[in-house]
């Protein structure tokens, strides 16, 4: 690890006037040796992606480095010409992007896109290129390399697409691989496999990897060294074990403190009868086929799900994308109509109500949505959004606004902000508005659909703590949908694991975590990145 591959020295990158700060990067110095993985960690807006894009010179117009050097194999890339950069990109420096959906051209076959790298940078013949492409696909462990060669991106799964991206980045054996959140868009089990793949190839080829991520679990899984960034500055850098277990900078300590440990919460007594019970709920989607019933494509989104939510507790529904957990949540609040089964809230069967009758039951079950940006109407003031629900139920406007004012205080927002529009709030604050809106109707059951997955880890911790305290104070019963087992362990008394529309395991969180019965649950638990690292508890050997 002696020879330095990439060395960033006192680099500053200027933003155009009118941005939220003057520099995206300010005075950043880093170095990466050949044959090591350096993780750059930070929350959104920390400048970690700008760092990666500066090395690759992929900055948007108007954003330019104004001080410092980027030395790659001893050569400064900042003054390099565009032609020189083109020769380096792909050949000496490979890059993997976050979104495997959009990083591949949907109209060209996967093999063709990998082969393009060879065509641009080498003079190899068609047959040689084909052989090399096939070998690469085998190296990234595609299940069927020959078939993948001919597949269009839409025919591949998210994980497979990311493998194709990795194959493209690796094609010319670059000395440096830049990975910008390569697993963020993937499911947890897929993420585990991709991380293992990157680690394995890195070790085999002795590459240097600059790995950008926001997730400390991923850092614990893969990093040799860690650099922590905040608002464009480097706050801490060091070997992974030291930074993760003995963080020095207060910001790093706060960030790591906000990572939920993969431990079940102390269980609370399951009190009384179920307030919400599902019995045999199913939902199928039909697509296409027109009037001919046999030709439609049928997806069983939810298959015969039976669950019970005891009063005053939180039931977590855990699953990967496509497991049907969101469809189930939408059936419960009747945004979707279940095909069969009963959804009993108290003694009302919600599944059997007409749309009109359901409107009358709206105040009993409410929902918090995932996306803090899309879930608030951009043209309504925050106070109005919260007051809307009670007003629909016939409460007078002044009364509803007074209530909204109380709720703002309850969810930790300044009531004087009621006149502002949603875009004037941060993501975490917006999620609090969404929560206040749901609570305004004093629901018996709160359905929360991934309420923290779009938030930075420190904000996520605050919102989780708020949900937890509100549940105790308001005696709420909560259905908490999440893909993140760490979050589930933090807040749920019981969890149900879903796969392909069916519940494969359900039970108290502690029992499921300690002794998972279903094979899929075990796979999920094992795939949680950095599972053996428990924040704030050093001396646990890294996996």
């Amino acid at each position: 690890m002696s020879d330095t591959l990439l060395s960033v020295q006192t680099l500053s990158v200027r933003l155009p006037p009118g941005a939220d700060r003057s520099h995206a990067l300010a005075d950043v110095s880093l170095s990466l040796a050949a044959n090591e993985i350096l993780c750059v960690v930070g929350e959104s807006g920390s400048g970690k992606s700008v760092l990666a894009n500066t090395v690759m010179r992929l900055l948007p117009p108007g954003v330019r480095p104004d001080a410092g050097q980027v030395l790659f194999q001893g050569r400064d890339l900042v003054p390099a010409s565009e032609a020189e950069m083109r020769r380096l990109r792909g050949a000496s420096i490979g890059m993997i992007f976050q979104e495997p959906m959009t990083a591949l051209n949907p109209l060209r076959r996967a093999g063709d896109q990998i082969a393009e790298t060879f065509r641009i940078h080498t003079t190899l013949g068609a047959r040689e290129i084909r052989d090399k492409t096939l070998a690469l696909l085998a190296e990234v462990r595609m299940p069927d390399p020959a078939a993948a060669l001919r597949a269009y991106p839409h025919e591949l799964s998210g994980g497979q697409r990311q493998r194709v991206m990795i194959a493209m980045a690796l094609a010319l054996e670059p000395a440096l691989l830049i990975a910008d959140e390569p697993t963020t868009a993937l499911d947890v089990t897929t993420q585990g496999r991709i991380l293992a793949l990157i680690r394995e190839i890195q070790a085999r080829r002795g590459m240097g990897v600059l790995f950008i991520t926001h997730d400390f679990g991923v850092v614990a899984e893969i990093a040799d060294r860690v650099a922590v960034m905040q608002a464009g500055r480097l706050v801490e850098e060091g070997p992974a074990g030291a930074v993760l277990n003995h963080p020095q900078a207060p910001y790093t300590k706060a960030l790591i403190g906000a990572v939920p440990p993969l431990l079940p919460r102390p269980p609370r007594p399951a009190s009384g009868p179920a307030i919400l019970s599902l019995d045999g709920v199913s939902k199928t989607y039909r697509k296409g086929g027109g009037l001919i019933p046999g030709r439609a494509r049928v997806t069983h989104a939810v298959k015969d799900v039976s669950l019970a939510l005891p009063r005053g507790t939180t039931l977590g529904i855990v699953g990967e994308s496509g497991s049907g957990k969101s469809t189930l949540a939408r059936c419960i609040v009747r945004l979707l109509d279940p095909d069969s089964g009963t959804i009993r809230l108290g003694d009302t069967d919600l599944a059997r109500l007409s749309r009109r009758e359901m409107r009358g039951q709206a105040r009993r079950v409410q929902m918090v949505f995932q996306d803090p940006f899309a879930s608030l109407n951009p043209r309504r003031r925050a106070g109005e959004l919260v007051a809307q629900g009670p007003m629909l139920q016939g409460v007078s406007r002044s009364e509803a606004l007074a209530k909204a004012r109380d709720l703002f205080g309850l969810v930790g927002l300044d009531p004087s902000a009621m006149d502002r529009f949603p875009h004037e709030f941060s993501g975490g604050q917006r999620q609090r508005i969404g929560l206040a809106r749901a609570l305004a109707l004093e629901p018996e059951v709160l359905v929360a659909d991934e309420p923290v997955s779009a938030l930075d880890v420190s904000v996520q911790a605050q919102v989780l703590a708020l949900l937890d305290s509100l549940r105790d104070r308001l005696k709420l019963s909560m259905l908490f949908i999440t893909h993140d087992l760490r979050v589930a362990g933090q807040i749920c008394d019981r969890i149900a694991v879903m796969k392909d529309g069916a519940v494969v395991e359900a039970g108290p969180t502690a029992e499921v975590f300690a002794a998972p019965q279903a094979a899929y649950t075990r796979a999920l638990l094992e795939a949680v990145p950095g599972r053996s690292w428990i924040p704030g508890r050093p001396q646990v050997p890294a996996a």
Partner: protein, 283 residues
Amino acid sequence: MAALTRYLRNPAAVLGAVLLLLVLAVALAAPVLFPKDPLGLAGRPLQWPFANPKVWLGTDASGRDIAAQVFHGARVSLLIGLVATVIAIAIGIAVGAVAGFYGGIVDDALMRVTEAFQTLPNFLLLLVLVAVFGSDITTVTVAIGLVSWPAPARLTRAEFLSLRNREFVQACRVLGMGDARIIAREILPNALPPVIVYASVVMAVAILLESALAFLNLSDPNVASWGNLIGAGRGVLRTQWYVSAIPGLAILVTVLAVSLVGQGLNDAFNPRLRGPAPVKTAS
């Protein structure tokens, strides 16, 4: 207000606004400057512009004052443009909103009707309507509105399709809000900006459609519209070309002004589509 600042920073858009205000001023000044009937006799026919200070833009083949007709014509053209646009946009929004919001069979049915209208050239349809219902100014205006609604309808439908599944709409449903209220109060305000921008196109086309009708002597002959004046000059086009050219210029300026304003509004509402890409600082 950011949109207003962006609008004022765009020179073409400001020019359009100035021209439009000019046309508006002309329309408002017409009864003051030319209190007499613009279709009344003003002097010897076919006088050249600037030859006689009493009729400074000259007279047409019937001896009517061209200046008076141009000034009064601005009122007629703007009124026709405005009313026809309001009709077209209102029908378009109603059809598009219902089709986009409900989807499925409702959408299919409404879109087939829309396509039926779109497959006919709208000027041909306009001719049919005028031939059947007569050509007084009210009928002409309503007819222009009736042939112009399909495009705004499709635009509104596209906006509704993308907005109806947003989480904020779902949140309103969960709160127990009814469909009519969701459509009118929650989705429509968000869907409106592109439709408003498109209204400028509808207005420009409406003015042109009326002129084209008048040129064919199919518009209301009892009002002093620009199209009528052009139509009146058709017979003397080779010798006294100014009879047609002056109102033609007025139409050009008005349509240009409306288009520039529309384009400027579009750029102001969607700043991302112009100029350098926005800076992304968040990862």
